[in-house]
C-alpha cells in the first residue's frame, strides 16, 4: 500500500475502532486495527515513514482510550514497529502466516507491557481470568483480521 494512503487510513481505522467495531465484539473483545497498521507499517514501509505512521496510530489510540493517562500506545507502537522493521531485515517474512504470527505476538507483548506499566503506575488490578480472556481473544481476533489483510496484500 502507498505510504501516503497508509497515513490517511490510520485515522479512519481509529474512528472505526471507536465506533463500528463495538458491534463486532466477540466476548467483549474487538480487534486492534491500529496495532495491525503499526506492524504492517514496520513490514512494508521505510523507517522514515513507518515510525511516524506507527506513532500516529499510537497517539490516536491514546486519544480515544478512556484510561490511558500514561500515553502507553504512543510509546509501544513505535517500538513494535521498529522491532518488526529490524526483524524483517534479519528474517524473511515472505508469507502471510508468518506476518499474522508476528501480529499475534505483537498483541500479546503490547497487552503484557500495558498491564505491567498500568499496574506499576496506577495499580489498576484486573482479575486474572479477565486479563487472560482479553489477551487470548484479542490476540486471536486481531491476528485473524490481520491474516485477511496480509492475504489480500499478497494476492494483489
Amino acid at each position: 500500500m502507498n505510504k501516503r494512503t497508509i497515513l490517511l487510513v490510520i485515522p479512519i481505522l481509529a474512528l472505526l475502532e471507536a465506533t463500528l467495531l463495538n458491534y463486532l465484539r466477540i466476548f467483549g473483545v474487538k480487534p486492534d486495527l491500529l496495532l495491525i497498521s503499526a506492524v504492517a507499517c514496520g513490514l512494508s514501509l521505510r523507517l522514515k515513514w513507518a515510525l511516524p505512521a506507527a506513532l500516529l496510530a499510537g497517539i490516536l489510540k491514546d486519544v480515544l482510550c478512556a484510561g490511558s493517562a500514561l500515553c502507553l500506545n504512543s510509546l509501544v507502537f513505535p517500538v513494535l514497529c521498529l522491532s518488526v522493521y529490524f526483524l524483517r531485515k534479519k528474517v524473511s517474512l515472505g508469507n502471510e502466516l508468518a506476518e499474522t504470527l508476528l501480529v499475534f505476538i505483537a498483541v500479546i507483548l503490547s497487552a503484557v507491557a500495558g498491564r505491567t506499566l498500568n499496574l506499576a503506575f496506577f495499580g489498576g488490578v484486573v482479575p486474572t481470568g479477565i486479563t487472560l480472556r482479553i489477551i487470548f481473544l484479542e490476540s486471536l481476533y486481531t491476528a485473524g483480521v490481520s491474516y485477511l489483510y496480509f492475504r489480500m496484500k499478497h494476492e494483489s
Binding site: L15, A18, T19, Y23, G28, P52, A66, R115, V126, I134
Partner: protein, 257 residues
C-alpha cells in the same frame, strides 16, 4: 539488532523523542486531538448506527412490535399518573412545600467508545463549552455511569464504572454497610473492604455513599448478585451487577455540582 553507532538512526530517534514529548505527554495536545476527532466521530457514529440497524433488522422489528404494545399500556398508566401529579402539586401548594431538584444535569449523546480492550469508556458530544469539567459525575436515568476524565471544547471522555481504574465509596441501601465499589473490566463490579461480619445479602441495592468527592449521595450503582470471602479470610467482597447496561449507552447525564 539496534545499531546506534549507525548515524542514520539518530535523526529518527530524535524525531520520535520530540514527537513523544510534544504529542504524548503534553496534556494540552490531547484535548485538541479529541476536539479534531469529535466531528468525524459523530459522522462515524451515524454510519455505525445505520449499519447496526441493518445488521439487527429482524431483532429491531420484533422489539419494535413489543415496545409499541408496551407504549399503549404505559400511556394508560401515564394518564392516571398525570391526574395524581396534578393533585400532588395542588396539595404541595397548599402546604407551601418547596420543590428542590437533587442536582443540575446536562444531557449528552454517546459518539464513541474506548478504542482498546483494556479500558472501559465512552466519548460524549459535550465539552467545556457546556460547562463540563474533569471529575464531573456521569449518570443515566437508571444509575451511576462513571466520571469525566478529559474534556475538550465540544467533546469529553468518560471513564465507565466498569473500568479497572474506577472506584467509588458506596453503601448498602438496606444495612448501611460501607464499602468501595471498583470496576473489573467485566460485566460485574466488586464491592471491596467489607468486614468479615458485614451485613450484605444478595439482591441488596448498592448506592453511592457521598463520601467520594463530587459523587452525590444515593445514586444507584447496582444490585448485589454474590457475596464471597477474600482469600486472606480477613474481609469479604460483594459482586455487583450494574444498574445501567454499560454496553448499550446512548445518552447520559452529567451532574453539574
Amino acid at each position: 539488532m539496534f545499531n546506534f553507532k549507525n548515524k542514520k538512526l539518530i535523526p529518527y530517534v530524535v524525531v520520535v523523542f520530540v514527537f513523544l514529548v510534544c504529542a504524548g505527554f503534553l496534556p494540552v495536545f490531547r484535548p485538541l486531538a479529541l476536539e479534531i476527532l469529535g466531528l468525524p466521530l459523530k459522522f462515524f457514529t451515524l454510519v455505525s448506527d445505520e449499519v447496526k440497524g441493518i445488521i439487527l433488522y429482524h431483532k429491531n422489528y420484533t422489539e419494535n412490535r413489543i415496545l409499541r404494545r408496551d407504549v399503549d399500556l404505559l400511556r394508560q398508566k401515564l394518564n392516571t399518573a398525570d391526574e395524581l401529579r396534578l393533585e400532588n402539586e395542588r396539595l404541595k401548594k397548599i402546604l407551601s412545600f418547596k420543590e428542590k431538584a437533587a442536582f443540575r444535569v446536562i444531557a449528552a449523546a454517546v459518539i464513541g467508545r474506548s478504542a482498546d480492550n483494556w479500558s472501559s469508556g465512552i466519548i460524549i458530544n459535550k465539552g467545556s463549552s457546556s460547562g463540563i469539567r474533569k471529575g464531573f459525575v456521569v449518570i443515566s436515568y437508571l444509575g451511576l455511569v462513571g466520571r469525566v476524565v478529559e474534556t475538550s471544547q465540544h467533546v469529553s471522555k468518560v471513564m465507565l464504572l466498569s473500568d479497572s481504574s474506577f472506584s467509588v465509596s458506596s453503601i448498602d441501601q438496606r444495612s448501611r454497610q460501607e464499602g468501595l465499589v471498583a470496576g473489573t473490566l467485566g460485566s460485574t463490579l466488586v464491592m471491596k473492604y467489607l468486614p468479615k461480619d458485614a451485613d450484605v445479602l444478595e439482591q441488596d441495592i448498592v448506592v453511592t455513599s457521598g463520601l467520594t468527592e463530587t459523587y452525590p449521595k444515593g445514586v444507584i450503582i447496582g444490585t448485589v448478585v454474590d457475596v464471597g470471602e477474600e482469600l486472606s479470610g480477613l474481609s469479604r467482597y460483594a459482586v455487583i451487577k450494574p444498574a445501567v447496561n454499560l454496553s448499550s449507552l446512548e445518552e447520559v447525564l452529567i451532574i453539574i455540582p
